[in-house]
Symmetry: C2
Subunit: 336 residues, 2 copies
């Protein structure tokens, strides 16, 4: 292990994985060895529940398309939904810097509530700590959620099979590009904004339509689609082939990424999901996704293959191929 | 509401309550209006579960008797136990400052694990964020827990009845005095240390012995026994009479408090509980508590009365009486 914690340890990329595998999993153990899920599936008496935690340290705390409050609700709701669970309850733990404006806190609290209402979850527990000025950066929020598993539902990062279609629910990099432009003081051309949104209603519709033909669900947040696909390829022991021409990126987001020298494949999304779906059901699932909110631009971006397990291969626009590796460093600290 | 957040808003005292009632409860709503519980009791399908969240920002992060890791586990385990639930699962969300020593992180992670093992809970979910140097103070930890409610168990801050005995499970102020001495660089005389400990096994023994004769359980953390008793008096709509001569305080802790000009009644405890128990069962419950770990010094410190609902009255050693008010300011920021 490194001597000191670096920003890369919080990036969601390789250094994060080394920390998680080398320390947290080594000490805490793991319920699904070798597979990191968005939420844990647990027995609570006669019921199966999903349980997920996430801390939010996004900078800036207010940005086009949302704020740290809406982001905190969506993040945890989505992590629960990615196991096929119905999100029910959420807790909110705030760490606030002394001197933080109460009117900003109120905006954030209302945003948490609005986000929870839209997702259909209830905020049932909270905690507030205040630290002296200079000991935190305005506000950090932890949300932890409980969902109820749909009977028979068994969605896991490990369940992808060769042949499965890879579906992405919409355009890439909107959140990451928005935060970065905001932070750098760049005028956003074209008016793109964070895609932060709850995905549980979309997931419910997908499962209603196709049941256990939906093998894998994952929201490509920190590290973006590129890193997430690498995680899923490893967890499922499959190769993934994606087509560059099929990857949906808004023109203005692509322009911002070019300007900043960043690849949209590695920028965070906060209202998108990746799904691995049986080929025979993929068309129906896609049709359903396109009909629900936040899924209008869903598309098939590739498929799972038996070759090169653990690897993600991009077929470029000009017909060549390259390996899409996991994110290495940290291009964008405090993206969520 | 105030214009800016102050340290007092995180104290657990009056300003905290104003923030919680005036903003959080006003916006989020409340499942038990007027009563703030240590954890929420929720339906999850056919089961009833308890759910509680707590963020830990203690300074220093290592102290006699524990560290931020053990404290974070005990805090949430105890909040679940205070509803009569059996703690099962815990999540750990860390916010780490860039540059934090990995060997300190490893000590804390092992401490989390050791604490969880002692309490019999499993750490099942985690999240790690890293913020740039200077944007947080070393490490903050959120723990959120799920417990399974014992069938028929209905323990609530609102269930105290006139006549109930008020039991305290051991000496007051050990945690608060330890943290303060450590922070101020005071040599601790007599070797007292934080009482940070899991209380779920004690609660299980109490409920096994006396069932629903145990009306109220609460761990007097931030704000200490004085503030907690005020909360419980309000929630139950009863008066509370306590006897100064019955309040257990270690001699060396009392000495440290005198030196620092602080009242042990308002200093935090992290391994103690207050119980309101039917008078006929109080003796048996006390006997059981004294036999289990962390309960050796349990004692009856007073009783609930119908007079002066919402008020806590202290009968002093010299026979006079005074009102014990809720903590006002913040004598000790970052105590947990």
């Amino acid at each position: 292990m490194a001597e000191k914690i670096t920003l890369a340890h919080g990036s969601g990329g390789k250094a994060s994985h080394e920390l998680i595998e080398g320390l947290f999993v080594a000490v805490f153990g793991s319920r699904s060895p070798g597979v990191l899920e968005d939420s844990a599936v647990l027995e609570a008496g006669r019921e199966k529940i999903a349980f997920s935690t996430d801390s939010f340290v996004v900078d800036p705390i207010f940005f086009p398309g949302g704020d740290i409050g809406s982001l905190a609700v969506h993040g945890t709701v989505n992590d629960l939904a990615m196991r096929g669970a119905e999100p029910l309850y959420i807790s909110v733990g705030m760490i606030i810097e002394e001197g933080f404006a109460c009117r900003d806190l109120e905006i954030i609290v209302r945003s948490l509530k609005k986000g929870a209402d839209a997702a259909g979850v209830e905020i049932v527990a909270g905690d507030t700590k205040v630290v002296p000025a200079g000991k935190a950066d305005r506000i950090f929020i932890n949300t932890t959620g409980i969902g109820l598993l749909r009977p028979g539902c068994d969605i896991s990062a490990a369940h992808g099979r060769p042949g499965d279609a890879v579906i992405l629910s919409g355009t890439m990099a909107d959140h990451g590009a928005t935060i970065l432009c905001q932070r750098e003081g760049l005028q956003i051309e074209g008016g793109f904004r964070s895609d932060s949104a709850p995905l549980n209603h979309m997931v419910a519709a997908m499962i209603r339509e196709a049941g256990d033909a939906v093998h894998v669900l994952r929201d490509p947040t920190r590290g973006g689609v590129g890193t997430t696909l690498n995680e899923l390829a490893s967890a499922s022991g499959v190769g993934i082939r994606i087509r560059e021409t099929a990857l949906p990126v808004r023109q203005d987001v692509r322009g911002a990424c070019d300007l900043l020298g960043l690849d949209p494949l590695y920028l965070a999304n906060e209202g998108k999901l990746l799904a691995f779906v049986e080929p025979g059901a993929a068309g129906r699932v896609l049709a359903v996704m396109r009909k629900v909110k936040h899924g209008e631009n869903a598309c098939i971006i590739g498929e799972l293959v038996a070759d090169n397990p653990g690897q993600v291969i991009l077929q470029t626009a000009i017909g060549s191929s390259r390996i899409v590796d996991m994110l290495h460093g940290e291009p964008l600290p405090r993206i969520c």
